[in-house]
């Protein structure tokens, strides 16, 4: 056998192919051993879908977030919501659930902690400390609210009470003394409290029941404040502080499933109540499970489509098996390397298997095409493998190297996720290439029925042994049979089409070239319609309960679900910042120890009002009689005020108030009419009993709450302090929520800008996202430039001439233009994930140009032959890569959908440009040269 007198590289590929083809059993046995070892190593891999990894580790906000997590336990909570029509039932269930979850332990967690205890949660908050609120509740109200309360609580009899409520509404909100705008929650709270009183009156029955209702009503007046109810009062929120930080995937993998088991029990116990949960820990666990499932499902889909394509295109029944083998081996080796070097898969690398199926099968396709050519020429298997290695080996090697080099360049980026993506995909390309070179000749050699190859007895024995536990040998035997009957080395499907295309291009290169350029130029018009979606919630998984609940919390609580946070070192600083931030109209809510210890100056201002309230309620004695008609007039006046408030809210865009009033007035139509009727019919004694119980109970509560004592640090109960102060009492934690959905254009968020200007060390996921988006824009460009430079240098090294190197880059440049044009045409937004994979198009797309140019040289510039051979192979490789990436478009995780679409279009465009425009250009340049 003569060896082509060409490069040393070609010689090495041929020698490897020869050895593999001549010693298939040894090669396969060694492969099996290495692969089994790799599988064992890779079994330790975990999928960790955290956004923290996307941000550079030296980012101050990340460092601060991690410091806060260590100092205060988890910096973010799991949110558990309870939904029921009855408020009292929700409160009862919340107390029960909170008590149980506080005691919940896990041996697995104890083991990880290295100590006896394995509590799932450090704390579970279902309500504020009742005693503290009962003692100091009114001191915590805003001064403006206290002024109004003073008037309302002047007389707790029903008629003067309702009258005061109406006067207050008319003067304050309808009268415009205070804008609804900044006080929506306050307005809604007021509406809810007064509606509760009216609802209790609506239910009056016996005298005893009337008194009980009065007591309950008054008790609930402030009791609801202790709980975190939604605006419509149909959802109650519990905050669960997990005993691990948000990046501890092992502990999250224990806590979240156990919590879910518990929730299933509660669902059975209370079938009329809805239990849901969310929070970053939950979303991460959901994403991990969904990504793992996605990865398996999509891998299988991609696999299946590609294998069908193999059979159709190569007309070779065994080809799917060989491809499967090569890919599985390559992926297994890659996953083992991922486990060794990194230890986990992240948002970007979770879909590595799917991507490698598309990328890795290319090598097999090129090799098999060249192998079939050799067999067509009458060569035996070994010789054909050597021939294939010679013809396609360099192209495969250069293609793999350039793609892998681009991937490794991503490791220069300042983002961990991108670094890991570069490493895992880069290694994956090399491992699948290695698997192709090593395994394919061996397997092809074993599969050819015409070969007179003697299989040792012990191999036959092992195969039959394996047949007991696996069907693989049976399948091989079946394939052998099918090959004997149907196998043919006739021209593989599609070759004629490519030959004809090549001939057409050879005859009319100018026309083809100009038409192609014109089409791309025309499509470029749509580039201007591209846009970037900053909202990371839009790339989360659709249909996930945890993600949907987050959005619902924004709607039902009128606050963004995710806060920003910062730590301070003394109480006074905490109080001053709290007060300053709370005043800003972009801020929805601020939580800190200062929520329970207002500034001293503010407390002093409130004292006179508290004294007045206490004097008023102290002097109050419940009236015996009720002027029924007057009361009904006040109830109707209240309804009128609500109707006017609703129209004002509709005009002034006060959506929360408008929605609440819609529920009160529209959904409960007829309530006021039936209430009026009941008030006319109910006996005087019942009304009096209600008034007496209501007034006395409220008097007791208010007297206590209006105690004119200042609150200081020592008064705050330890359980409450624990939420906001670290164990050494040296730092204070504050969380602040935006009024608007923080995920909608976070880089333009006034809230984030204001918080960053006000507090230098503010942190939290919204802050990372702003930094991440800015970094992606910067690093994405850097990664692209570095990739282009590296690619160019490698290709220049390969071709040793500028012209072919530049021509090989042409498909890339035009493909990028086309890709941006198509996404603009489709108006499909780019996002943080899809932007980061743009360098992949460079690394993958360069293959096409490299292969075509290599083959162009080898075939002595005969374009029809180039396209017939390499063109067909490129079609297959591009098709498989597009299928591999395109299958991501069916992922649940929306980030993958965008990634898949961008890569699908980019690779497709690369292919079309490579087989249409590049050959035309080559022909034109060649004609010009002559």
């Amino acid at each position: 056998m003569t060896i082509d007198n060409q490069s040393w590289r070609r010689y090495i590929f041929q020698q490897v192919a020869r050895f593999s083809a001549e010693n298939p059993v040894k090669i396969l046995a060694a492969t099996v051993i290495v692969t089994l070892l790799a599988v064992v190593i890779a079994s330790g891999l975990k999928v960790q879908m955290t956004w923290l990894d996307m941000v550079p580790q030296d980012n101050p906000a990340v460092a601060e977030f991690e410091r806060i997590s260590r100092n205060f336990g988890s910096a973010t909570d799991i949110i558990l919501t309870i939904e029921n029509e009855s408020k009292s039932k929700m409160k009862k269930i919340a107390r029960e659930v909170a008590a149980e979850l506080r005691r919940l332990q896990s041996p697995g967690l104890a083991e990880l902690n290295g100590k006896g205890e394995g509590y799932l949660f450090k704390d579970v908050d279902c309500r504020l400390d009742q005693d503290f609120i009962l003692e100091h509740g009114l001191m915590l109200q805003k001064t403006a609210d206290l002024k109004e309360s003073k008037d309302i609580f002047r007389n707790l009899d029903l008629v003067p009470f309702m009258q005061a409520v109406n006067d207050n509404f008319e003067k304050t909100y309808i009268g415009g003394k205070r804008e609804i705008r900044g006080n929506q929650h306050s307005v809604i709270q007021g509406i809810n409290s007064y509606m509760d009183v009216l609802r209790e009156l609506h239910q009056l029955t016996g005298k005893e029941a009337a008194a009980a209702r009065g007591r309950i009503c008054a008790g609930n007046y402030f009791d609801d404040m202790l709980y975190s109810f939604s605006i419509d009062k149909k959802m109650l929120m519990l905050m669960l502080q997990p005993a691990c930080s948000v990046d501890d995937i092992k502990k999250i993998g224990i806590i979240v499933p156990l919590l879910r088991q518990k929730l299933q029990k509660y669902k059975k116990k209370y079938p009329d109540t809805v239990f849901r949960h969310t929070g970053f820990h939950v979303i991460m666990q959901d994403e991990m499970e969904a990504a793992t499932q996605d990865s398996m499902v999509l891998t299988n889909i991609a696999f299946f489509i590609i294998l069908i394509a193999f059979v159709i295109l190569f007309r070779m029944w065994g080809s799917p098996l060989i491809a499967m083998l090569v890919l599985l081996v390559g992926i297994a080796w890659d996953m083992a390397l991922a486990e060794i070097f990194i230890g986990r898969l992240n948002i970007m690398t979770a879909m590595t298997a799917v991507m490698l199926i598309g990328l890795g099968v290319d090598f097999f396709a090129h090799f098999l095409t060249a192998y079939n050519e050799g067999r067509d020429k009458g060569m035996i298997s070994t010789r054909a493998s050597v021939y294939a290695a010679g013809k396609a080996g360099e192209g495969i090697f250069t293609g793999a190297l350039t793609t892998a080099a681009v991937m490794f360049c991503l490791m220069l980026a300042d983002m961990k996720a991108l670094q890991e993506l570069g490493l895992v995909i880069g290694c994956g390309i090399l491992t699948t290439m290695l698997a192709s070179f090593i395994i394919m000749p061996a397997v092809l050699s074993l599969m050819q029925p015409r070969e007179k190859y003697h299989i040792p007895v012990w191999v036959k024995f092992l195969s039959w042994l394996l047949a007991v536990v696996t069907i693989l040998p049976l399948v091989l035997m079946l394939i052998n049979y099918l090959n004997k009957k149907f196998f043919s080395y006739q021209t593989c499907a599609g070759q004629n089409i490519f030959r004809r295309a090549g001939s057409f291009i050879t005859q009319k290169p100018r026309r083809v070239f100009l038409t192609g350029i014109a089409v791309i130029a025309g499509l470029s018009w749509f580039i201007q319609y591209n846009w970037f979606d900053q909202n990371i919630m839009n790339i989360e998984m659709k249909g996930l309960e945890s993600v949907e609940l987050q959005r619902e919390i924004v709607r039902r609580y009128g606050l963004s679900d995710t806060p920003v946070m910062y730590a301070t070192t003394n109480l006074e600083q905490t109080q001053k910042l709290h007060h300053r931030i709370d005043k800003h109209n972009a801020v929805g809510m601020v939580n800190s120890i200062a929520s329970f210890i207002p500034l001293f100056a503010k407390q002093q201002k409130r004292l006179p009002y508290l004294k007045q309230i206490q004097q008023q309620v102290g002097a109050y004695t419940p009236g015996q009689e009720i002027d029924r008609r007057h009361f009904i007039r006040e109830v109707n006046r209240f309804k009128t005020n609500l109707l006017e408030l609703r129209q004002l809210a509709a005009i002034s865009d006060q959506e929360l108030v408008e929605k609440r009033l819609d529920t009160v007035l529209v959904s409960n139509k007829g309530f006021f009419t039936t209430l009026e009727q009941k008030l006319k019919q109910v006996s005087g004694s019942r009304l009096s009993a209600f008034q007496k119980a209501f007034g006395s109970t409220l008097k007791t509560v208010l007297f206590k709450m209006s105690g004119p004592q200042l609150i200081n640090y020592a008064d705050v109960p330890p359980a409450l302090k624990a939420d906001y102060v670290n164990t050494d009492q040296t730092e204070f934690l504050t969380t602040a929520f935006s009024k608007k959905d923080i995920w909608n254009a976070p880089t333009e968020s006034r809230f984030i800008k204001f918080m960053r200007q006000t507090v230098k060390n503010v942190t939290g996921t919204p802050v990372f996202m702003v930094d991440l988006i800015n970094i992606v824009a910067r690093e994405g460009k850097t990664a692209m430039y570095i990739s282009l430079l590296v690619i160019f240098l490698l290709v220049l090294l390969d071709f040793k001439q500028f012209r072919p190197a530049l021509i090989s880059l042409l498909p890339l440049a035009l493909a990028m233009l086309t890709m941006f044009a198509v996404t603009g045409l489709l108006q499909y937004p780019f996002n943080v994930v899809s932007v980061m994979v743009l360098p992949l198009i460079i690394g993958i797309g360069i293959d096409d140009g490299v292969h075509i140019l290599h083959r162009y040289r080898i075939e002595k510039k005969h374009i029809p032959t180039v396209l017939q051979t390499t063109g067909k192979a490129l079609f297959f490789t591009s098709f498989t890569t597009m299928v591999g990436f395109g299958s991501l478009m069916f992922a649940k995780y929306q980030g993958f959908v965008g990634m898949g679409l961008v890569l699908f279009i980019g690779i497709g465009a690369c292919f079309l440009i490579t087989i249409i425009i590049v050959p035309a250009l080559l022909k034109l340049l060649d004609s010009k040269k002559r």
Partner: protein
């Protein structure tokens, strides 16, 4: 000799006439006021409020104004939930009455609300009554410029009395004396936080009327667009319309 003298005089005139004919800031402001002082007008317009969150509200409003915007009567025609609700705005937002169609009541609302947002839009009451330029602002001519391809005078206006704004930069059309672009600045800020634009100007009964008005809140990333659907000049508009009791009609 005489010819030489005449030539010299002629060249002096040529050089200095443009300068002599240039308007002062006071004159420009006076012309702006005159252009805005429509004695009476009825308008039907569509108001679209686009918020940063992406949500939007669309209202159809009928308005009657007197003496510029000194007195305004606004009646909401659409959507159904606010149809019939009307507002009477007097004294640049110092006195506002509302009629609620849901209850049939006329209520006095918001005293001294001029700095408050008007009915949820990006306009404040102060913005709507920004026609008494001479009285309320100190004006300085900054030069000439082009905005929306129209030659404009560029003015700096500093409020004489307490205002939400520290200064305004106004580009006024040189022919029609209508502000085409206004940038609003808060105290100590170099960047405008609100921007007002008018376009599609049509002269009706010698008064320029903008059929498209946009106010953008650059901080909030929200904007309010007013699209005039119908305009009718009413020089003899009945002053009796601008009383609270008329709101019920």
């Amino acid at each position: 000799m005489k010819v030489k003298y005449a030539l010299k005089l002629f060249s002096i005139l040529i050089i200095f006439t443009p300068a002599l004919s240039a308007l002062s800031s006071a004159a420009i402001v006076a012309r702006m006021e005159k252009a805005a002082a429509v004695p009476g007008c009825r308008m039907l317009y569509r108001q679209v409020i686009k918020r940063a969150s992406g949500s939007r509200s669309v209202f159809k409003i009928e308005s009657f104004t007197m003496n510029g915007n000194e007195k305004q009567l606004l009646r909401y025609l659409h959507p159904a939930k606010v149809k019939g609700t009307a507002f009477l705005i007097l004294n640049s937002g110092d006195d506002i009455w509302a009629y609620f169609s849901a209850t049939g009541r006329v209520r006095r609302i918001a005293r001294h609300a001029r700095r408050q947002k008007m009915m949820g839009s990006d306009f404040t009451y102060e913005d709507m009554s920004m026609t008494a330029f001479k009285e309320k602002y100190k004006a300085e001519l900054l030069g000439e410029d082009k905005v929306f391809a129209k030659a404009c005078y560029k003015l700096k206006l500093i409020p004489k009395e307490r205002s939400s704004y520290a200064k305004l930069i106004v580009w006024t059309d040189k022919k029609l004396f209508v502000p085409l672009l206004v940038n609003y600045y808060a105290a100590g800020e170099k960047t405008a936080y609100k921007q007002f634009m008018q376009g599609k100007i049509k002269v009706i009964n010698s008064y320029p009327v903008a059929r498209m008005v946009i106010m953008k809140n650059l901080e909030d990333n929200s904007q309010t667009i007013m699209q005039v659907l119908q305009v009718e000049m009413k020089p003899n508009i009945n002053e009796d319309m601008f009383v609270p009791s008329y709101l019920k009609r």
